[in-house]
């Protein structure tokens, strides 16, 4: 029962994070949504690691947390850059992938 609850929470968080990534126009909120998705993934690792008594999952989760933190730092740096160059945080302005 517990694991069902936890895994469901993880899935729902992933979906909500994805929803945020896709719909939010503010780049900071997009980064926050990505964080939610990463958290749900980490959460999954921890659930399985706890239930299987396998520390490897925890270790990976640890790495992910560290990575996610630095990723947020880089993401925010990018957001600042974007703000400086484009004078806005609207992600729809960033369409220079199309030449």
């Amino acid at each position: 029962m517990n694991e069902v609850v936890l895994l469901s929470l993880s899935g729902i968080l992933l979906g909500l994070g994805l929803y945020g990534v896709l719909t939010k126009k503010n780049i900071i909120l997009t980064i926050a949504s990505i964080e939610i998705m990463i958290n749900s993934a980490i959460f999954n690792f921890i659930i399985f690691s706890s239930y299987n008594n396998n520390p490897a999952g925890d270790v990976v989760a640890l790495f992910f947390i560290a990575l996610a933190a630095s990723e947020v730092a880089v993401g925010l740096a990018l957001a600042l850059m974007m703000f400086r160059i484009k004078k806005t945080l609207n992600i729809d302005v960033m369409n220079s992938l199309r030449w």
């Binding site: 517990n2 895994l7 719909t23 126009k25 959460f43 270790v59 640890l62 740096a77 850059m81 609207n90």
Partner: protein
């Protein structure tokens, strides 16, 4: 049973916070909601007898990341765009998410046929594994994090 009730309550709260983050009008509120979400997840880790990761979660996510996000908001706040745009109602995305979740839960039920129970994860075990089996990955990870931080700083600094 007690654990289940607590977990359910925490999960409910987490979802509330996540939705709140997605639908808040003020971006600062959104950051506060997400901080709440992170902390609740940390609490859940505690409930799973994984105290070290719970602490890490609360420290890094609930503290550092939230503060970083806050700084991001503070550095750019004035230029935040029209509030109406923060919520979009594009139907296809919602469908997409529903699909994602249902599939995810579907996988979950295939998995849940295994006998599962919660084990205590001591810090000693974790550190033993981390510094023995995963030492190489640990070092690589450190380098990556270091370089990404340096890159971020450099990037921000360069434009000045």
């Amino acid at each position: 049973m007690f654990l289940t009730v607590i977990l359910l309550a925490l999960s409910f709260l987490a979802i509330i916070f996540a939705i709140g983050m997605l639908y808040s009008r003020e971006i600062v509120h959104a950051v506060i909601y997400i901080a709440g979400l992170f902390i609740i997840l940390g609490l859940i880790y505690f409930m799973l007898d994984n105290t070290f990761l719970g602490a890490v979660q609360i420290l890094i996510y609930g503290g550092a990341v939230t503060v970083l996000l806050m700084f991001g908001v503070m550095l750019t706040k004035r230029e935040i765009m029209d509030k109406k745009e923060s919520i979009t109602t594009e139907y296809e995305y919602v469908v997409l998410i529903a699909l994602t979740i249902s599939i995810y839960i579907g996988t979950l039920f295939t998995v849940s046929s295994y006998p599962l129970s919660i084990y205590y994860m001591s810090m000693y075990t974790l550190s033993t594994v981390l510094f023995n089996s995963f030492i190489g990955a640990f070092v690589v990870m450190g380098v990556i994090i270091m370089s990404s931080i340096i890159g971020a700083i450099y990037m921000v600094k360069e434009v000045e």
